[in-house]
Amino acid sequence: MLLNRNFTLMKSVGALSIAAGCLLGLYYAGLQLTLPVSARASFDYLHHFTIAFQIDALSAFFLVLIFGISLLAAIYSFHYMHQTEKSLATAVNYLFFSLLVASMAMVVAAANVITFMFSWEIMSLSSFFLVIHNYKKEENRKAGYLYFVFSHVGAMFILTAFGIMYFYTGSFDFGETAALTNTAKILVFVFAFIGFGSKAGVFPFHVWLPHAHPAAPSHISALMSGIMIKTGIYGILRIYALLNFHTPVFGEIVLITGMVSGILGVVYALGQHDLKRLLAYSSVENIGIILIGIGIGMIGVSSGKPMMALFGFTGGMLHLLNHAIFKSLLFMGAGMVHHKTGTLTIDALGGLLKKMKITGSTFLIGSLAISGLPPFNGFVSEFLIYLGGFEGTGLDRMAFISILLAIISLAIIGGLALACFTKVFGVVFQGEARSGAAENVDEKGLTMLIPLLALAGACVLIGVFPRAFVLMAIHGVSGIGIGFEPALLEPFIRLTGNITMASAIFFAFILAALAVRILLYRGKTITRSGTWGCGFTKPTVKMQYTGASYSASVLAFFSTVAPLREDHTGVEGCFPGHSSYRSKVNDVAELHMNAVIVHPVLALFAKLRWIQHGDIHLYIGYILLAIIVLLFFILGCIYDVRG
């Protein structure tokens, strides 16, 4: 993989090998998904342990996801990694790229603790290297560090959860957890949830995410945001399936965190000025939506409402798939923008749609899908989650309130997402170019366009003909181990049918209207002129509405959770000179993490530094002290024995 003599050759070899691997994996995963039985493979390890893999429906579902997206990312990377002078770095990048894909596949296939932790850490490590691919930028290094620490601490939490399990079961294998007491189960779940949540980017453990994702190259961001953070979700589901313990507590935890991260994620996203940061935050939002779905499902299971459970889980799973698709689409689109214009600052772009038709329109489809609008895939999954929620409104007080909040927050998230992505699309791709960077751009690079088109096609396909995919998601859900009889599938069939019909009719409408429009325009004078400036005689591009001001009013509404720091030199005098405005939305989680955790720890350890005092008498004193204490310890033991 590290042949960096001939740049193009190296790139093509790298991309091709990864792609080929993905295709193969995709084939087997698909096979697995159709197969009812679960494959299992295990090897002897260090003479005392085993490395075991097992692929059940759940894993297969994720495998399909992983390989599918990685395939496209590999194709995309071919033209994206264009800096010939950094061929070595590129080669390393490909190396870790392939490593990341492999390790993700291993994570979802792992069948015992050792295997899981091993692949998990490898995954974190390789993605870390990908994040600091461009280490010359200060903030990228910071991002890498943050991500590194977060993933390690998260892994430690997961390990703790496994440790507690191991205390009861005494076996490394996933599976027998019957021995656990209920409190232990809850404890395990909480620890695992924190651990996996920090990987999945659940508020408030998402701090690393908006730093790390923009730092990586775009196809990597697509990979990370599209699927790597989903391994966290996988972990949560896996633990849930393992514990097989249906208490409403789990559901409530997941649901509430889901709501919080959903709303806050999209609010912060609205406040960003960097395109990729915005997308990263919107990943937090979508993780929130997925968790809401899963939480509804869990509550459904615990309260014996199979329909609700099925709707919730399926919605969650499907949204997982959808998010993987449109988020990687958006990231790749952003990558294209960055590749051509060299900037990602939203307010410096504009009017790209005229020059980059394909990128623009695919990005439009992506934005529509991520805002959950019909007839695109985002809608289908959110629809299912809604239905699950409504099924759950029949519950009693506590559950009912949380469900009610879940539905409302889903609605709000939907609205905010719409605002957010109209902002992105409107400011980046429409209007006039706001800076020289966006003036003269083109779109070349076939391999970068293919994935965009493919993903956009997938968005529409799932949006219009969701049945097959919904069934696939359901099959994945069946891996969680909640029993449901096939009769419950019937409503899904009906629903998907309805959606297909409705969207078909809708498209028919559009076509009809377009036809009418053409009819009306036949033989009419169509002139082009400047935009009506509402009285301004000389409109300039500077006068366009910027993204910052677009989102200002909404942010004002959420100012309590999203403190807005702005500094601007006002306009003074009749003929004002230069005036500037800068604003930044602070992340409460980030602020508090520094205030509550980091500083106290540093202070504490700073206090202890006098131990290494430098005086040898003191050192000998330590030795003496140790001896004396231990002797007293012995005496204590004796007295214990006697009395």
């Binding site: 439009l364 539905i407 709000i412 009306l520 169509i526 935009t531």
Partner: protein, 306 residues
């Protein structure tokens, strides 16, 4: 089936007429004669005959906008049980579908507005996006209530036949709150006073109107028609809730329905005449009141269902 098709066409056709009623009412309050009731038809025909002028900075989105917004509105009407008859389409959860469909329309209207690179249209777009968030929250609040009452998620079950009556019987007085909430949603979604003043001349204070500044000719016609359909959609819902009972024979039902509709439109007109539009920063609070009302209604109803 045939009936519902006919009704659907009627709805689209009559939407502009009802919208004119508002103007009439306003004129009456202003002590003027006001335009004829068919004014909107005239304007639309005029628009359809004209050509168009497109901004140099606009793209195909700009042309797509009006079409999509019209289609979404018309599509929404397909789910609407006009005068209590079964609608063309209806399935479990179609309400959510409709809401998101209208959202799609909004998306394209905004996109089209941003397309023109005009600062004012961007401003309007921002407001549109912002206010609709709260409206959706309200709508879903009401949905939760209705679902608890009827156990169904389709407009047809709420509004067709004896649906509304059932709602009244189970929920009772709290339904009044719901109706008021709905009315507020109606006002804001269709950008009427006090949220927005379509008749003002200052672009700075507009929301919907400013977004369509640059549209002209048939495109603008589409937009207008879409707006009327949307208005009709909302007011039909309100009217069905206002006049829940449906006497046996079709004629009576029709008359009742139309009467109720007229009342709603008149109410809109009255509001516009007696109120001035709010300052932009007061608008969210105004819309929030609708949410609060809906929430209140839900809680009360459920309490007293128990």
């Amino acid at each position: 089936m045939i009936v519902s098709v006919i009704l659907w066409f009627l709805a689209i056709l009559l939407a502009p007429f009802f919208a004119a009623v508002i103007l009439k009412v306003k004129a009456f309050f202003g002590g003027k004669k006001g335009p004829p009731l068919l004014i909107h038809y005239y304007t639309m025909i005029k628009l359809f005959q004209k050509g168009s002028v497109y901004s140099t900075s606009s793209t195909f989105i700009f042309k797509l906008g009006p079409v999509v917004s019209l289609c979404t509105a018309a599509m929404a009407l397909m789910f609407l049980p006009v005068a209590g008859y079964r609608p063309l389409l209806s399935f479990h959860g179609d309400v959510i579908f409709i809401l998101y469909l209208l959202g799609l329309g909004r998306f394209f209207t905004i996109a089209a507005a941003m397309d023109t690179a005009s600062p004012f249209e961007g401003m309007g777009a921002a407001r549109e996006a912002y206010f609709s968030i709260i409206c959706e929250a309200t709508f879903f609040m009401i949905l939760i209530l209705f679902f608890k009452l009827t156990g169904s998620l389709s407009l047809a079950d709420y509004l067709s036949g004896s649906g509304p009556l059932g709602l009244w019987q189970t929920a009772g007085s709290p339904l009044l709150f719901v109706i008021i909430a709905f009315f507020i949603v109606l006002l804001s979604e269709n950008s009427r006073v006090p949220v927005d003043d379509p008749a003002t001349h200052l672009e700075l204070t507009m929301i919907h109107e400013v977004m369509v500044l640059d549209h002209s000719g048939p495109d603008f016609g589409f937009i207008e028609l879409g707006a009327y359909c949307k208005l009709f959609f909302y007011s039909a819902i309100v009217s069905r809730l206002l006049a829940p009972l449906n006497p046996g024979n079709p004629v009576l039902t029709g008359c009742l329905f139309i009467a109720a509709l007229l009342v709603v439109y008149a109410a809109v007109g009255v509001t516009e005449s007696v109120m001035a539009r709010y300052k932009m920063d007061k608008v969210p609070k105004f819309i929030l009141t609708s949410f609060v009302l809906a929430f209140f209604a839900t809680v009360i109803t459920l309490e007293f269902l128990k």
